[in-house]
Symmetry: C2
Subunit: 318 residues, 2 copies
């Protein structure tokens, strides 16, 4: 198991795009700045999708520009296609994730594209990235969503998943990620999927996982992923978000509980946990209608628990 | 990892003794009967404590007598002392658990007894059991509570825990159990504690664990315990209960989510999961004021998920 784990906050993208309320730009910036100040090193700050489709994400360019000014922070975004990637590169995102749903029904419902079309997009995005000056090329991840099963198709055949992972890498992705869009994963499935996908793309090309807590297994699945050697875990402050196109599937892993688990296990996150817990207030104020999840914020830290001593992202960059 | 896991339902004891409402005897019986019919093989049905202290448990004798009529069901009870054990044996309990809080402050607050006094009780209980006809001797477990830390003392020194485990076995317990009374456990601590305690009592004398979900780590901790070779896990339907004497610590592991995880991993529980989910209605009706927890009941089972095919406890006994 790696001893240093990268917690990748996806709340400003996955959380905010799933809910009805639109968070004002200034509050998004306050949230991102506060989490970075608490030591979070990577934040998915938005997605480049048409504002008509997701008005919650209309200010993503401005948010990326702002987030880039925070020293030490990796600014990640989600894009559905080449046009989104162009906007992401213009704005200066450090990391671009293109989702490919291994269930073709879900892909059509979610992105209105077939597998072949998404692979074509990924190839075009990789070509666009290659045209950029070397020091300005964003990291490019193809994310295999519904990889643990789909609410429309059920389990997806493993050979189909592995073939798509290979095709994404062939198309020019730097790595692939696994995404339990529907909350179907269990610890055994997580282990087996990581082994299988690494078998075709190699160890270095699969380091991260996006898990949901739909059936309460989120952190157990994280544990399995860490034991299998991954070192990057997505989560959302207050657990907000999930996939709006997969009915019944909601609930990201709660960043607060995840960081508590990692630190309790003696793993390094670089995050100041008491300070992270304070960031919750920003979301509570901005999204008064949204329920926030998480157990650690209510229960508090155990008596005698020593949170990790950290340097902020800013200090780390200095 | 064992492939067959015993889910030990503790709701009728741990759940009901933690809440204000008193469940009528007939509804307790309906709950226990329904869970046994869904395939649950062990239920902690009550505790033998003075009714003045816990009026919720005043009918435990009658409940034990009833539960004994259910074929194939192991009827477990909790006792705080010799007098409780006498009542348990008279009623015909199959399994008796005596809690020993490894934190002496918590032991004094919870059971009003020092460690030496609890060890004396355990010796007296073991002697009483030895006096019974061989085929009527209940299984006797000493449960090490607050073993992952105490809200009053913080972390408890490991040598103190190991010495108490040894003393319980020397006093005549058949086995010891681990109990995360305060919800302080994490997967690494679970693994290390199991290894350490098994190191002094032997593998056969530590098979079960009682974990809480106080900080959301319940199922991750279960996974660690299973991977370390335990095969018995406590949980509570709807997650009701916790420890009423440990402020801020509440929330048992939810039986529904636990069984889903185990079955999703391909482990055998003997439990009919869809039928188990139905049992929830009995508690909802009987305890209208209590919030019920659990994710799987809301999310439902994944598309294409094949629940374990089971024979009921009754059929299994025939």
């Amino acid at each position: 198991m790696h001893t240093e784990i990268l917690v990748s906050e996806v709340g400003p993208r996955d959380g905010l795009q799933s809910i009805g309320q639109i968070m004002p730009t200034e509050q998004k910036k306050a949230w991102i700045a506060a989490e970075a100040a608490a030591g979070v090193r990577e934040i998915e700050v938005g997605s480049f999708v048409p504002p008509k489709l997701l008005p919650q994400m209309a200010d993503t360019s401005e948010i990326v520009s702002f987030a880039r000014t925070i020293p030490g922070l990796t600014v990640a975004v989600l894009v559905p296609n080449l046009r989104g990637a162009q906007a992401a590169i213009e704005a200066g995102a450090h990391k671009i994730t293109l989702p490919l749903s291994v269930s073709e029904s879900h892909s059509l419902a979610n992105l209105r594209r077939t597998h072949d079309q998404i692979i074509e997009e990924s190839r075009a995005i990789a070509a666009l990235i290659a045209e950029q000056p070397e020091d300005q090329r964003p990291h490019f991840e193809g994310s295999l969503s519904t990889v643990f099963g789909c609410t429309l198709e059920g389990a997806i055949p493993l050979p189909q998943i592995l073939r798509l992972a290979e095709r994404l890498m062939d198309a020019g992705c730097d790595e692939v990620g696994l995404s339990d869009t529907t909350g179907y994963a269990d610890p055994r499935a997580v282990r087996e999927m990581i082994k299988a996908v690494r078998g075709v793309v190699g160890e270095d090309a699969l380091t991260g996982i996006h898990l949901h807590n739909t059936r309460g297994l989120g952190l157990a699945n994280v544990l399995a992923a860490l034991e299998e050697g991954l070192n990057t875990v997505d989560s959302s402050l207050g657990g907000i978000g999930g996939c709006p196109f997969a009915p019944g599937a909601s609930g990201n892993i709660v960043t607060e509980d995840l960081v508590f688990m990692l630190q309790a296990m003696g793993l390094k996150t670089g995050i100041d946990l008491p300070r992270l817990l304070e960031v919750r207030k920003i979301i509570e104020q901005a999204l008064s209608e949204e329920p926030l999840y998480g157990f650690t914020p209510d229960a508090g830290l155990p008596l005698g628990f020593t949170p990790e001593t950290v340097t902020s992202a800013k200090e780390a960059a200095e």
